[in-house]
Amino acid sequence: MSTWSRNNGALALSAAATCLLVGGTALAFLWVPQDADQGFSQKIFYLHVPVALTAYACFAWGAWKAWRLLSRRQDRYDLESYTAVHMGIIFGVLTLVTGSIWAKISWGVWWTWSERQLVLFLILFLFYSAYFMLRYSVAPGPARANMSAVYALFGVVLIPVSFLAIRLAGTLLHPNPVINRDGPQMSASMFGVFCVCLAGMLALAAALYRTELTGKRLDARLRELRELLA
């Protein structure tokens, strides 16, 4: 990793995320036509779906880092996996909250247990929430790193199940998938703005990930320094 990237990567990602998210939101409200079925409430789609996909991406990134820890045996992957899961939880909370608001507008209820997509995402979210309980119930060291990595890898199995549930849902309440075999299930302008918002959300997650990781590494180094000087 170059020095510039190490020093300014989070800054560049933050700037990109701000531009993409502000631009995408402005386009969603001012340029994209209203949906014929849902009307104005469909505007929440440009927030909810990118947030949900970013949560999946964070959990998958955490599982990938966990796999790297188990295969390479390098300590730094433990912190990276933990930080990615941490980011996934933040975006998971946002997914549940924005999804509930959308459900209230469209279905008249905040939550329904009959919807597979919702319940599977909740299971995924609770599974990764338990990751923290497991992690902090074990003393720091290689045993904790290995246990956390194995747990994060198990959780990744739920991601495709949750992701595909919307395609298996059939006639239930949740809206159709964004893309199916026939291509995007919306107009070109809607799909373009959705892609801008998704890119912005991924950039935001990457910026938060790098910032959080830097903070945690700094914290660990300060702790080591304190022990040396004590």
Partner: protein
């Protein structure tokens, strides 16, 4: 403002609020790290940036250094460290010469 508009606005505001809360939490963390770094810098400057000096080695046995130079009361010259008078001091220790004299030895007192 319609009901749908209110809910959509609320959703975007929730997103913004979560990001802002995250920024506030991280700012708090950075200020804590800054404070800890300042403490450690002060600590390192106090020790000259080196490891703290090692403790002097503990002597296992033998007379205490410099004890020979210390004055001993005449009444205590035949007593050991417990001041019971039953154990004469080690040869070469303080008051060893006087301890061997019959008048000053406890045994000498009893035998005499």
């Amino acid at each position: 403002m319609t009901s749908a508009e209110k809910y959509v606005t609320a959703a975007y505001l929730v997103f913004l609020a979560v990001v802002l809360v995250y920024v506030v939490i991280f700012a708090t963390k950075v200020s804590r790290l800054d404070r800890e770094l300042a403490e450690l810098t002060a600590l390192a400057k106090g020790t000259g940036g080196r490891q703290p000096a090692a403790k002097p080695p503990v002597r296992e046995c033998g007379p205490v250094e410099g004890a020979a130079e210390r004055p001993v009361r005449e009444a205590d010259q035949g007593k050991g460290s417990g001041e019971t008078g039953r154990f004469p001091q080690l040869p070469g220790g303080p008051g060893a010469t006087s301890a061997r004299q019959p008048g000053n030895s406890p045994e000498g007192e009893r035998l005499g």
